[in-house]
Amino acid sequence: MLDTPATDYTWNSAADIGSAVASGRASAQSVIEATFARIRARDPLLNSFTALTEARALAQAQALDRAHTEGKRLGPLAGVPFAVKNLFDIAGLPTIAGSKINRDAPPATRDATLIERLQAAGAVLVGALNMGEYAYDFTGENIHDGPSRNPHDLKRMTGGSSGGSAAAVAGGLVPLALGSDTNGSIRVPASLCGLFGLKATYGRLSRARTFPFVASLDHVGPLARSARDLALAYDAMKGFDPEDPVCADRVAEPIEPLLDRGTEGLRIAVAGGYFKCKTAEACYAVDRVAAALGANRDIELPQVDRARSAAFVITAAEGSSLHLDRLRRRAGDYDPAVRDRLIAGALAPASLLIKAQKFRRWYQTEVLKLFTEVDAILAPATPCTAPLIGQQMFTLGDAEMPVRANLGLYTQPISFIGLPVVAVPLPLEPLPTAVQIIAAPWREDVALRLAHMLEMKGVVAAPRPQL
């Protein structure tokens, strides 16, 4: 049942909306009209959207309602409004990827694969979302569009680079958004804004027609306010896509029907060593999740500081190669913080890049051995709760360090080897934080099952901000 008045839908889950529209208890048009009204009312505070797709959204909603009237069966996400980080192609719009430069690009001629797949399940695209320039960002700040703002405290960062995606979902504008995650860009904003975020296995979800950042590390995935919504979106989006050369051609069973299996037969450990939390909120979050899941052992990943270093080098070097021509032509049009890092990355010797890639294989082999002993590993998602917008440095333990580079401290060594992760939010006061549930490659089902179980126990939840 929808738990809000029929004209609101602000905090309804995608699952509830989809079920209500598919059964005729709500019309898709009323859901989508309410969504745009909400965006117009709240987004001036959150700054999460950079473009709205109102005409096509209303047309699609009306088509869904007509289909229902004609007795056609609607998909599980029927009438569910969703929005995408503005590095996803949306037909008719330039794919700006958070930049000034790409605003001059011609409009995309076709939607990204994941948009097409969500729409095929009935979901309705309502717009494009703010992000850190070219995804080289952990803060959610953007020099061209302004920062996306954390719905739990508008003075604070959303985290990035999928900052608009997190602000829009946490702020109740949409129940579902897509982001990308190269080093933590789904999991960091999920943590700072108190959301569920899924970074699936590298190669699981198609990146076709998205603007890349670091091809060998790029992932895309959903953010939502429940594990079930992540599973529904994942089920709708998974599957081979020949248009993404990395996308794996392997069977993926639907996960949503498996969610209620709980911890049955699963061995769960907490990442120690490098991942030992440094702040009270991160420690509390990990301890709370570990206790609820009965995770009674620690496990140490090998050489994690080197893994993070290698991810840093690969990101800098590969990311820079993508931008060489643009740097030559329009260096002055970049966010200076991005430009300086890209120029520096372009100067990194190729021999060190290859060495980092070789280390990556070694690290992957060693970490995968751990999954013969455990099925899931828990780790903090971020070292702290949301810093203030514009904050340059933060203190962790005894060390003062740059915010921008270190918000991904705990996410970077995991995406480095493409492991599937669900970030689960702890609704702490005054600000939320999240824990990563890390599974073996292709076992998104394990991470999502555990996330759902924690949610059913009331341990994790996406908090509702007062806006």
Binding site: I343, G345, F359, E429
Partner: protein, 114 residues
């Protein structure tokens, strides 16, 4: 290793409205996160001749000058400090990887499939 018992959790009060757990008191400070040591790999006999064992203090400056010229990259003097900081960081982190002993037949992470 057996995990220590978690601190007493403070369960959320109810599910609607969404519960808000109280924060525990701040813990005592612990060691810095970013370790500068070469780590375990170095103890395993890795050479200390990594990339960041930069031989001259101005090596990064030389690399920036030569690299931007060779690649035809613009470099406004106002950007120099930021580029130098970031390249220095990349080289320091790359050294940590470079110092790690890998066999000659180590395959890179992404492998091309024809």
């Amino acid at each position: 290793m057996k995990r220590k018992a978690a601190r007493k959790p403070k369960p959320p009060k109810s599910r609607r409205p969404i519960p808000v757990a109280k924060m525990p008191a701040a813990k005592k400070r612990v060691k810095p996160v970013a370790k500068k040591s070469a780590g375990k790999g170095a103890k395993m006999g890795a050479k200390k001749t990594g990339a960041a064992a930069v031989s001259r203090p101005d090596a990064i400056d030389l690399l920036i000058t030569a690299g931007t010229e060779a690649l035809r990259l613009p470099l406004d003097p106002a950007w120099y400090g930021g580029v130098k900081f970031n390249l220095g960081l990349i080289m320091r982190l790359a050294a940590l990887v470079d110092d790690f002993p890998l066999p000659d037949d180590a395959e890179p992470g992404p492998v091309f499939h024809a």
